[in-house]
Symmetry: C2
Amino acid sequence: MKIVTKRARFKNPLYLQSGRILEPYEIVYESYGELNEARDNVIVVCHALSGSHHAAGLYDGDRKPGWWDGLIGDGKAIDTEKYYVICTNTIGSCFGSTGPMSRIYPSNEPYRFKFPVITIKDMVKAQRILFAKLGIDRVKAVIGGSMGGMQALRFAVDFPNFAEKIIALAATHATRPWVIAFNEIAREAIIRDPDFKGGYYDPEELREKGLTGLAIGRMAGHISFLSHASMDRKFGRDYVPNEGLYELFGHFQVERYLEYNGYNFSKWFDPLSYLYITKAINLFDLANGFESLDEALERVRSRLYLIGFERDLLFLPEEMRQIDEAMERVGKGELSEYYEVKSDYGHDAFLVEIDKFSDYIASVLEE
Amino acid sequence: MKIVTKRARFKNPLYLQSGRILEPYEIVYESYGELNEARDNVIVVCHALSGSHHAAGLYDGDRKPGWWDGLIGDGKAIDTEKYYVICTNTIGSCFGSTGPMSRIYPSNEPYRFKFPVITIKDMVKAQRILFAKLGIDRVKAVIGGSMGGMQALRFAVDFPNFAEKIIALAATHATRPWVIAFNEIAREAIIRDPDFKGGYYDPEELREKGLTGLAIGRMAGHISFLSHASMDRKFGRDYVPNEGLYELFGHFQVERYLEYNGYNFSKWFDPLSYLYITKAINLFDLANGFESLDEALERVRSRLYLIGFERDLLFLPEEMRQIDEAMERVGKGELSEYYEVKSDYGHDAFLVEIDKFSDYIASVLEE
């Protein structure tokens, strides 16, 4: 599989939903496989909150491949022998595209809190402009899970002629307060952390030691990504054996897991990006700009494949089913299909139980 | 209704499950109604994590009554015209019974982290000693929800002759990793907060301004007490109108609720108590000291009334039903009854939807 990572720079302003602009801005993107001559074998993959453009393949020297490597590759469900797959780092993120720690032109100071609030609609608009620049005006499919699923749905509504198929997993049509509440734990923990310095932290320093507030926020995130059953299986009531049961800070395995993953995350993710991206997630409502969800969906011309996960506690499967029901209501039932993945893994299933839905995705792309 | 608040002091050591002792120790307790001459009209009420002995009635000058005032009072389900109701503040708590901010005898220094880890079993043992001192060796019922339900179940196993009836609501037979994970957010947020000063904070100062770490932990707690449906109803995607939608820190109503309740809580609850009590909850396993849950339940001689709440996400109703099933397995089915309250309010239902189960409790006590 051929992997190419590139950076595109745009001098024209990006007009944002907030009324503000980004100018100039950059988008980092990665591609897998080869664009055919007819330019009609493109699949766009959209990443989630903590993801990046590095969706598949292994970089030299890395131990871990891209975040959806189980799904994307030669002979895999998203077959890079057939398709040219592109994944862009969303604006606002911290992996190369313009985000809050990018430098303002011409002062060369990082934006920090001067960065504008961005939305899922803005993320998708920026991608659409990139694809136009690349000469890609129509794609086989847009696919993504969680926040990536929100982007896929936004593509369906905002750019009805862009994608033949939209495949959205483990997402929603409008973010519910349950999700906003978990994001709020992270927001408070980050902005109240003295080492955050009101946004004026030294990024090098945080990369060394991590930001505790971000670690705590991520720990809350991990709870929301799992389920009662997956936690029982992974951890049960197991105890770290060399720590006493009656020590106040003795560690249950689940505590150890959250700490390890939380503090580790805080060393490679930027806290300001976390604030901006969770804000974009909180603001997501497919009906935004329309009278209702139904009115938004009336615009859809792509085929929608809506995949819910049985025990997803972050975005309940019923939220995906409601989109299918709304498509039915507006007379577009034949363009829409709901598929529920049997899994008790929780939200993380879209990343870790790929074998449970990869055949379905392969068949959708073949159709 | 006659309300009496008292403090009992014990000079003999309390032998704890950890092998350590508390000596001396105090228990604050409150009673409602009057003890009859036969001393056989006693009902023991056990409080949850953030509760206190003040379960019912209104103190002079207060605006809010005790935490189960809807259930306890003259003519109410737990009828103080008939019953003499006692609620004690658990050891480890911060409302008067001996806890981590109590003073060590004879040095007069607060325990802080020198306070021993306590368990639900220890809390119940301390109460049993208090009741013996009061000349109460058998009661009509022990009742409690959440951590109060754990105490009620512990009474059933540890003191089989003490209670005629045990009524446990919204609890479990063994705390699952889901709950331990939420408690872990609070623990990290508290101990990492610089104002916590490694446990050497000034309690007066914290009462003024609150501890951010405790506020964040409590915010996580509130999520776990609610449900997707109750949050939808309470908050939806409503926005505080005078704050811009595209302000990074503009407030959804759910954010405002969590902040208000979190920061408010941090002014009236002690962070060390929060650490010790959540540890007791994490350690709770009714099978502790036995080979299995079944073996523990073989000791039960009280009638068990196990009340689960349909959409409780903290302690799933199935966890209460499993106790009923185990009672059946050990041939004590006739002593056990499972009742499921229809509610989508989440865990908080045991505190806020009293009208949905008060008739059931009244009938159980009448039986």
